[in-house]
C-alpha cells in the first residue's frame, strides 16, 4: 500500500538560499564526517521505478537519490535547500526563473549534465502519453496543458488524442549551462521544489530507451548501479567515478528488498542489515529496549487525518465536527495501537515546517464535557443513526479507527460502524466522487518543502484532494495572497491566517504526524538522516577497522 508519496519537506529555518557550502552533516555537528569505505546494507521495499520522471514512492526515491543528483539538495540538519548542480536559481518576478548549471558534471555514460539534460527530463515527465507519474509535479510550468492529452468527453478513460505539443512551452534553453523556466503563476517557493527527485536530469540515452534505463539506470550522482535492478531481491550501488561532487561514504550500498517489514526487521536482528529506515509498529518498544541509541527518532511530516463529509447534513455544523474532534484522545490511541510512534496533531502544518505553530488547534485534545456541550448546542446527533467510519482495507487503519469509534461512542454516545472493506483504488474513487457517508481516514504527504503544500491542495475550493468539499472564500483569498507574496517570509503570515480558519472550521479532524523511527547496526559509525530527504545512505559512514 502506498501511503506516502513524496519525500520532500522544508527547511525549519529561514536560511533557505543562503546555506553554506558545507553538506553532509549528521547526527552530531562534529566535522569529522566519518570515514569512507565499506558496504552499507540497507532495508528497502521494492521500488516502483528507478526513472526520476516516474519514481514517486518512498522506496524508489531512496534509490534514485543516490543514483541521480538535481539542482539543489537539502541540508541534512536544517533541511535548507543548497545549490547542488545549480550555480544559481534566480527570478525577478517569481514567475520566470533563470537556472545556471555548474559545468563539468556528466552522466555515467559520459553525456554532459547541462541545460538539455534537465529540459529533456522535465519534458519527458510532462508529456502525457509517456504516462510518467511525476508529470504531476510539472503542473506549475507553463504549457503543461498542451503536452497532456485532453479528455475528449470528460467521461474518463477513452482512446485519447495526441497532445497538442510535445514539449513544455515554459522551458527555454539559453545556453549549454543555462535555461529559463516560466511558471503559469508566480510561485516564490519554486527553488525549494526542484530538489525533489522528479526534477533530476536524465541522459539522452536514458530517455531514448526508458525501459532499459529503468532497469539499469544511467545516473549522474555519487553512486552507480552494479549490474542491474534485481527485482524483489536487491539493488547494488557502487561509488561512481564520474561524480565530481563530494563523494559518498560507503564504497557500496546494498538495498535488500523486502515485501514484509517484519521479515526485514528479522533480517536486521540477524545482523544482515546495517540500516532499517522504518520499523514494524509492533516492534517499536522492543527495538527501543534492544538498540537504545541506535534507534533514531525524529518528527516526521506525514499527516493523518479524518475527513469530514461536509456535504452531508449531519456534518454541516462545525460544532458537530468540533465535538467529534474533542472526543478523541489521540495520544492514547497512538500509545495503544502504534506504540507511541506518532505525534498528536495540534495543527494543520507539519511541526518541522517553517511557519508551523504549536497548539493552534484548540479542538484537537480530548475534552468530553466541551464535546457534549457543543454537540448539544448543534442540536445533537440524529437518534439511532450510526456513525460510519471509513478506511481502506488491508493497511491496518481499521484498528485505530475502531479506537476512534470507541472513544466517540464513550464520550458522545454515538454508536459507530466501520466501513473498511474497500481496497485502496476503490476507496480513492469513492473519495474522488465524494461518496463517503461518514468520517473517512486519509493521509497527506507534502508535495514540496513549503507549508502551502498542507493547505491549498486539501482545502481550497474545488481542489483535487479536497475530499471534504470544504469551501471558504476567505481561506481561498488568503492562499492567493500568500502565493503572490514577494518572499517566503512575507507569505507565511497569510498561510498562518488560513490555518487559523481551518482549526476553527475543522474540515478534517487532524489526527497525528508520523514519526521517523530508524535503527542502525553497531558497525555504523555515523547515521545521517536528512531533514528533507530522509535516510541519506551516501552520507552514512561505517566503522572502519
Amino acid at each position: 500500500m502506498r501511503g506516502k508519496f513524496l519525500k520532500v519537506a522544508v527547511a525549519a529555518t529561514a536560511t533557505a538560499m543562503l546555506a553554506t557550502a558545507c553538506s553532509g552533516g549528521g547526527n552530531d555537528s562534529d566535522d569529522a564526517a566519518g570515514q569512507a569505505g565499506g558496504e552499507l546494507r540497507v532495508y528497502a521495499a521494492e521500488p516502483a521505478f528507478l526513472l526520476p520522471s516516474a519514481g514517486d514512492d518512498e522506496p524508489s526515491i531512496y534509490v534514485i537519490r543516490q543514483l541521480y543528483r538535481g539542482l539543489v539538495k537539502y541540508n541534512a540538519e536544517t533541511g535548507a535547500p543548497e545549490n547542488d548542480l545549480a550555480e544559481s536559481i534566480t527570478s525577478d518576478d517569481q514567475k520566470t526563473w533563470t537556472i545556471k548549471i555548474k559545468s563539468g558534471y556528466t552522466f555515467d555514460n559520459g553525456e554532459p549534465v547541462n541545460a538539455d539534460a534537465f529540459i529533456r527530463s522535465w519534458n519527458y515527465a510532462a508529456y502525457g502519453p509517456n504516462a510518467q507519474n511525476n508529470s504531476y509535479f510539472m503542473k506549475r510550468i507553463a504549457g503543461i496543458k498542451d503536452v497532456s492529452s485532453e479528455d475528449p468527453d470528460g467521461e474518463g478513460p477513452k482512446k485519447a488524442p495526441e497532445p497538442k505539443a510535445k514539449e513544455l512551452s515554459g522551458l527555454k534553453k539559453v545556453d549549454d549551462q543555462t535555461f529559463t523556466v516560466e511558471l503559469s503563476e508566480p510561485f516564490s517557493g519554486f527553488p525549494t521544489t526542484v530538489g525533489y527527485s522528479g526534477f533530476f536530469p536524465m541522459a539522452q540515452a536514458c530517455v531514448d530507451a526508458a525501459d532499459k534505463c529503468n532497469e539499469t539506470p544511467i545516473g549522474n550522482g555519487p553512486y552507480k548501479i552494479e549490474g542491474s535492478w534485481q527485482h524483489n531481491v536487491a539493488i547494488n550501488l557502487v561509488r561512481s567515478d564520474t561524480w565530481k561532487g563530494e563523494a559518498g561514504k560507503p564504497d557500496k550500498i546494498t538495498y535488500r528488498i523486502f515485501a514484509d517489514v517484519d521479515a526485514g526487521y528479522a533480517a536486521f536482528q540477524a545482523g544482515e542489515l546495517d540500516v532499517m529506515y522504518t520499523l514494524p509498529p509492533a516492534r517499536y518498544k522492543e527495538a527501543k529496549a534492544t538498540y537504545g541509541d541506535r534507534l533514531y527518532e525524529q518528527p516526521g511530516d506525514n499527516f493523518t487525518y479524518v475527513g469530514m463529509p461536509i456535504y452531508m447534513p449531519e456534518f454541516k455544523d462545525k460544532r458537530v465536527r468540533q465535538a467529534l474532534s474533542l472526543a478523541i484522545d489521540r495520544q492514547s490511541i497512538i500509545d495503544a495501537v502504534f506504540d507511541g510512534r506518532f505525534t498528536p496533531a495540534t495543527g494543520y502544518i507539519a511541526p518541522s515546517f517553517q511557519g508551523a505553530r504549536e497548539n493552534v488547534c484548540t479542538y484537537c485534545k480530548k475534552d468530553v464535557e466541551k464535546a457534549k456541550q457543543l454537540l448539544q448546542e448543534a442540536g445533537g446527533w440524529p437518534a439511532g443513526k450510526k456513525l460510519q467510519l471509513w478506511a481502506n482495507a488491508g493497511a491496518g487503519h481499521d484498528k485505530w479507527l475502531q479506537a476512534v469509534g470507541d472513544q466517540i461512542k464513550a464520550a458522545l454516545g454515538i454508536d459507530y460502524e466501520l466501513k473498511v472493506n474497500l481496497q485502496f483504488a476503490e476507496y480513492l474513487e469513492t473519495a474522488d466522487s465524494k461518496k463517503f457517508t461518514g468520517p473517512f481516514r486519509l493521509g497527506w504527504g507534502p508535495d514540496y518543502p513549503y507549508l502551502e503544500t498542507y493547505l491549498g491542495p486539501l482545502y481550497s475550493t474545488g481542489a483535487d484532494s479536497n475530499n471534504s468539499t470544504f469551501s471558504n472564500p476567505e481561506f481561498d483569498s488568503l492562499l492567493q495572497q500568500g502565493g503572490s507574496a514577494k518572499s517566503i517570509d512575507e507569505a507565511i503570515p497569510f498561510y498562518q491566517k488560513a490555518e487559523d480558519i481551518l482549526v476553527e472550521e475543522l474540515p478534517v479532524i487532524p489526527m497525528w504526524w508520523g514519526k521517523v523511527g530508524a535503527v542502525y547496526g553497531e558497525n555504523v559509525d555515523k547515521f545521517v538522516w536528512n531533514a528533507v530527504s530522509d535516510a541519506d545512505y551516501g552520507a552514512t559512514s561505517l566503522k572502519q577497522n
Binding site: 502506498r2 501511503g3 508519496f5 516502483a48 521505478f49 502525457g128 502519453p129 509517456n130 504516462a131 507519474n133 508529470s135 504531476y136 503542473k139 497532456s148 492529452s149 485532453e150 479528455d151 470528460g154 474518463g156 478513460p157 477513452k158 482512446k159 485519447a160 525501459d211 534485481q230 527485482h231 524483489n232 531481491v233 536487491a234 535488500r256 528488498i257 523486502f258 515485501a259 514484509d260 517484519d262 521479515a263 526485514g264 528479522a266 533480517a267 536482528q269 540477524a270 545482523g271 544482515e272 488491508g394 474497500l422 481496497q423 485502496f424 483504488a425 476503490e426 480513492l428 474513487e429 473519495a431 474522488d432 486519509l442 493521509g443 497527506w444 504527504g445 491542495p457 483535487d464 484532494s465
Partner: protein, 336 residues
C-alpha cells in the same frame, strides 16, 4: 498409453481456457465494480484526469467494456487469449513490466523452495511414516501420529513466524556468535529469510516450513499404507520365501505402500505452490506466490490471469505425470 496422454492433453484446452475466462471475468468485474486499478497508483493525491487516462491507456485498462458492470468483455478476453497463445504475450503489470519477465524473475525462487519442500517432505515424511507404520501402536507410532496431526492443525503462518523469530533470529544469532560454525550454516541456512548471498542455503528453512504440513500428511499416508500392506498376503509370501526382513520391508512392502504416497506428492505440488504464498511472505522470498498476492491486491488483471493460468497448467501437467507415474509404478493400472 499414447492415446491416453493425447486425450488428457486435449482435455487441458477447455480447462485452461475455462480458468482463463474465470479469472478474466473476475478481474473484469473487479474493475467494473470497484474502479480503475490505475487510480491507486496515485494514492491520496488525485491525479489530473489527463495523466490518469494516459496511464490507463498505456496499461490496457481503457477498454470501454470495463465501464459496463457485468459485461463479460468477450472481446478483451479473445484478444488476451490470442496474445497469450499466438504471440506468447501475457501483457504488462501496472509498473509496465512484462508478465513473462516477472514470472521469469520469480520462478527460480519458487522452484528452489518447492524442490526443498518436496525433498524434505518426501524423505522425512516417508521415513517417519515407515517408522511409525512398522511399529503400529507403539510409542514411535503414537509420537508420529500426534506430532503430525498437531503440525497439520497449526496455521502455517503461525508456524512460519515462530520459526523465523526463534530459529532464524534467536537461534541463528547464537550460531553467528560461534566463530567455528561455517558461514553457510550460520549466515546462510539460519538466516531469518531469503538472502541473495546464499540463494540456496537460506531457502532450506523456508522450504522445510513449506513442506511441514505436507510432510505430516505424507507421514500419515505412508503410515496407513504401510500398516495396510504389512498385513498383505504377498508380504506374507515374501516372508515364506525366506527373504530377509530388510528385503521384505524394503522391496516388497515399500514398493506397494509408496504408490499412494507418490501420487499424493505429485498432487501436492499444486498445494505447495499455493502454500508458498504464505512462506514467501514470511521469509521474504521473491517468488510466484508473492507476485500473485501483490498483483491481486493491486488489481493487475494481466498478471493474475497470466501467472495463475501458468500455474494451473503446471498443476495439470503435474497431475498427468502423476497418473502416468501411477501406471508405471502399479502395472495393474492400464490407461486405454
Amino acid at each position: 498409453m499414447g492415446r491416453y496422454v493425447i486425450r488428457r492433453l486435449l482435455q487441458f484446452i477447455p480447462t485452461v481456457l475455462g480458468t482463463m475466462f474465470l479469472l478474466h471475468y473476475m478481474t473484469s468485474l473487479a474493475i467494473q465494480f470497484s474502479g480503475n486499478p490505475v487510480r491507486a497508483l496515485f494514492g491520496d493525491r488525485t491525479p489530473p484526469p489527463a495523466l490518469l487516462e494516459a496511464v490507463t491507456e498505456r496499461l490496457g485498462y481503457a477498454d470501454p467494456c470495463l465501464d459496463q458492470r457485468g459485461n463479460p468483455c468477450f472481446g478483451l478476453f479473445f484478444d488476451r487469449v490470442a496474445d497469450v497463445f499466438l504471440r506468447f504475450d501475457f501483457g504488462i503489470n501496472l509498473r509496465q513490466r512484462e508478465v513473462t519477465e516477472l514470472v521469469a524473475d520469480a520462478i527460480p525462487f519458487t522452484l528452489k523452495l518447492l524442490v526443498i519442500a518436496m525433498v524434505f517432505e518426501a524423505v522425512v515424511g516417508i521415513a517417519a511414516g515407515v517408522w511409525a507404520g512398522l511399529r503400529g501402536g507403539s510409542f514411535a507410532d503414537n509420537l508420529v501420529k500426534i506430532s503430525t496431526v498437531f503440525v497439520i492443525s497449526v496455521p502455517i503462518f503461525v508456524l512460519g513466524v515462530v520459526v523465523r523469530e526463534f530459529v532464524g533470529v534467536k537461534f541463528g544469532n547464537v550460531l553467528r556468535d560461534q566463530a567455528w560454525i561455517p558461514e553457510v550454516i550460520s549466515n546462510g541456512m539460519f538466516s531469518p529469510g531469503f538472502k541473495p548471498d546464499y540463494p540456496f542455503a537460506s531457502l532450506i528453512i523456508p522450504g522445510m516450513v513449506l513442506g511441514a504440513v505436507s510432510l505430516a500428511t505424507t507421514a500419515r499416508l505412508t503410515r496407513t499404507s504401510i500398516m495396510e500392506n504389512i498385513r498383505a498376503d504377498y508380504v506374507r509370501t515374501a516372508r515364506a520365501k525366506g527373504l530377509a526382513n530388510k528385503r521384505v520391508i524394503g522391496v516388497h512392502t515399500l514398493r506397494n505402500s509408496l504408490i499412494p504416497v507418490i501420487t499424493f506428492l505429485g498432487v501436492d505440488i499444486g498445494a505447495a505452490m499455493a502454500g508458498a504464498v504464505v512462506t514467501e511472505t514470511i521469509f521474504n522470498v521473491p517468488g510466484i506466490g508473492r507476485l500473485v498476492t501483490l498483483s491481486a491486491r493491486t488489481g493487475e488483471s494481466s498478471v493474475v490471469i497470466g501467472v495463475v493460468t501458468m500455474l494451473v497448467l503446471v498443476v495439470l501437467v503435474a497431475n498427468l505425470l502423476v497418473d502416468i507415474l501411477y501406471a508405471v509404478l502399479d502395472p495393474r493400472i492400464r490407461y486405454e
